[in-house]
């Protein structure tokens, strides 16, 4: 059984919601990322999403764009990101790690080589933002062969037929993008999220995590009421941005930001 499936099953048994923080690997410097991962787990993360820095993150808002730029100042590469996961795995064999990024860095190294190294370093899942399900057949079999879950995005604009097609190919969990926009956008409309999740659940048994627009305990709890998991990214990354001059305090700040969300989610049951 995959680590992601195990984690979501366990949460379900405990009637708890998954808390899924996202940070960009290598931000503000590659030496801190593994420490941040451990701090986030301690603060209550169930799954970690680790962003692969890309020069042209066209689906991301300014916060993640700048995080990519900070990571790329130190040339943080896809291979280095996976080495960070290997380092993390030395002391955490349990928490699933999902790599999230754009196709080109994977394409340039070849999907076969990527999948092999991902498996070897302890990566559990891959979410390629700009890989639509229509284009995915050249990639999915290789990723699956190496035990990697393939996580897909669903959006407010996804019609029912697309939801069905995507649900068929996805594994691990589905990531519902709560709004039309880029990462870090401000508004979150819980009613429309609730309605869309009901539509999605008609087509899948997979857990559905919701991301985009979750920045604090209140918004995490609101989404947690209707989703299986809550993804929080820009709110954490902006802590890194604000305090990049003082990287020593960042792990603590990230934990402080995440812990109230954990508490709010655990009060839901």
């Amino acid at each position: 059984m995959s680590r992601l499936l195990e984690t979501f099953n366990a949460l379900k048994t405990q009637n708890r919601k998954a808390l899924i923080p996202f940070i960009t690997a290598g931000d503000p410097h590659p030496q801190y990322t593994v420490g941040f991962m451990h701090a986030l787990v301690k603060a209550g993360a169930d799954v970690l999403e680790l962003g692969i820095p890309f020069s042209d993150p066209m689906a991301d808002g300014p916060t993640i764009q700048l995080a990519c730029e900070r990571a790329l100042v130190h040339n943080t590469s896809l291979w280095q990101v996976m080495d960070m996961v290997a380092e993390f795995r030395k002391t955490d064999a349990k928490t699933p790690v999902v790599l999230m990024g754009y196709l080109n860095p994977i394409e340039m190294r070849g999907v076969e080589a990527f999948a092999k190294k991902a498996q070897a370093t302890g990566v559990d899942g891959v979410l390629i933002v700009d890989l639509a399900v229509e284009e995915s057949s050249a990639y999915l079999p290789t990723l699956r062969q190496h035990g990697l879950d393939c996580i897909f995005l669903l959006a407010p604009t996804s019609p029912e037929a697309r939801i069905a097609a995507i649900a068929k190919e996805a594994s691990g969990y589905l990531y519902y993008v709560s709004l039309k926009g880029v990462t870090g956008a401000a508004t979150l409309d819980i009613d429309s999220v609730t309605a869309k999740l009901a539509e999605i659940r008609k087509h899948t048994q997979l857990p559905v995590a919701v991301g985009f627009g979750i920045r604090d305990a209140a918004s995490a709890a609101a989404v947690g009421k209707v989703a299986d998991g809550v993804v929080v990214g820009s709110a954490l990354v902006s802590e890194i941005e604000k305090n990049q001059a003082n990287p020593g305090v960042l792990a603590g700040l990230l934990a402080d930001k995440l812990a109230p969300m954990r508490a709010a989610l655990d009060q839901l049951k």
Partner: protein
């Protein structure tokens, strides 16, 4: 006639093209394709497009025999397809009119565009003014600096110009920002992409709108040259003017075609913008195509004297035409383009855009290898008025 039927149903040109965007945009792209498929055979839509191209743009554009240039180059007869004479001064308007009419038929009230040199931004702002649409143009902060006359033009036309400060602050970053705007405002907004790149159906529909260039040459050539030309030459940044000239000729194997990329400071330096000549296949801006990227997949900064060619990708159909061997892709550097800029200006009284000057630079070499009874059509994709400040600065002349 060779058979050539691209793209396929998924928007692929061989292994290139396709749709590589975040999920939110997939359905809007499908809607756009459905609307276009319906409208492209709708007589009322086509009549509206044709009326605007004739009376607003001033088409057909002339095919001009550059006799003094021909003599100076000492080879094939040189003919210029005068897209520089279009309203707004470049071929870009052929496409913006088509897409803006699509926007109107889709009920969108706001158009957005990315621009490099500013020509596509001006063409978008122009048609937005003409149709009463709100218009926002994204432009790399560096390009805003080097193309200030076009920025002012867009503002005069009522468009909002947003300088983009992320990444390399050039065309690719403007395109990222336009995609972000589109994903956020997709309900009321139409993204008018300026070149044959981006996700399907954009490369196809921009090609179809620009193909008016080649279709006119096919009609003009027998009357003026006496037969079809032996060679076509066009510059390639994203590649819209080139595909516009080439596409109607793809099934005519006797007509050789040459796409000229920007070699910048030289292909042996990192400072160029020639993905077809010196890049490799990858995925950027929604399609698989030749790009300039490092071994880790990060997109590389590019350089060209011409802002309109300063882009690390290229339309996916060009990638396919390269691999299939139908079109030969070459490159001309900054100095060669500048020399051709001056040569055409002085010999023919036509000031070419720096983009088009790259096509002229290669045509000069090609003409010299051909006989006087042969002919070349060079796509003069735009006029150079916008570039005179850049050139004056390079030559140390102050215009203020």
């Amino acid at each position: 006639m060779m058979s050539y039927e691209y793209p396929d149903a998924g928007g692929h040109y061989g292994p290139y093209g396709g749709q590589f965007v975040a999920e939110t945009l997939m359905e809007p792209l499908r809607e756009l394709e459905a609307a276009y498929t319906k409208l492209k055979n709708d007589p009322a839509f086509l009549a509206e497009l044709d009326r605007d191209l004739t009376h607003y743009v001033g088409r057909p554009s002339p095919l001009y025999h550059a006799e003094r240039l021909t003599k100076a180059w000492g080879g094939a007869q040189v003919w210029l397809k005068r897209e520089d004479l279009n309203h707004t001064g470049a071929h870009k308007v052929n496409n913006t009119i088509g897409q803006a009419l699509l926007a109107k038929h889709l009920g969108k009230t706001r158009i957005i565009a990315e621009t490099g040199a500013g020509q596509h931004g001006v063409a978008s702002a122009t048609i937005a003014a003409r149709l009463g649409l709100e218009c926002v143009v994204y432009m790399g902060a560096e390009d805003v600096q080097r193309q200030s006359p076009n920025v002012y033009r867009m503002k005069l036309l009522g468009a909002k110009v947003v300088p983009v400060h992320s990444g390399t602050k050039t065309l690719k970053d403007a395109m990222n920002e336009a995609l972000r705007d589109w994903v956020t405002n997709v309900d009321n907004t139409f993204y008018v992409i300026g070149t044959v790149a981006g996700p399907h159906p954009y490369p196809m529909l921009v090609r179809d709108f620009q193909s008016i260039i080649g279709r006119e040459v096919i009609e003009q050539a027998p009357k003026q040259i006496g037969r079809q030309p032996d060679a076509l030459v066009a510059c390639v940044g994203g590649g819209s003017n080139a595909i516009g000239l080439f596409y109607p000729y793809i099934g005519e194997p006797a007509v050789k075609m040459y796409g000229v990329e920007a070699a910048g400071r030289g292909l042996n330096t990192p400072d160029h913008a020639a993905p077809l000549t010196a890049g490799k296949p990858g995925v950027l801006h929604g399609n698989r195509t030749y790009i300039m990227a490092d071994e880790n997949g990060q997109i590389l900064p590019t350089h060209s004297i011409s802002a309109g060619l300063d882009y690390p990708g290229v339309g996916p159909e060009h990638s396919w035409l390269k691999d299939s061997g139908r079109v030969t892709y070459v490159a001309a550097d900054d100095d060669e383009a500048l020399a051709s800029f001056h040569e055409l200006t002085r010999l023919e009284g036509i000031i070419p855009a720096l983009e088009s000057s790259h096509a002229l630079a290669y045509a000069k070499k090609l003409a010299a290898t051909m006989g006087k009874e042969q002919s070349i059509v060079v796509n003069l994709s735009g006029r150079g008025d916008k570039d005179i400040f850049t050139i004056a600065k390079l030559e140390g002349i102050s215009l203020l």
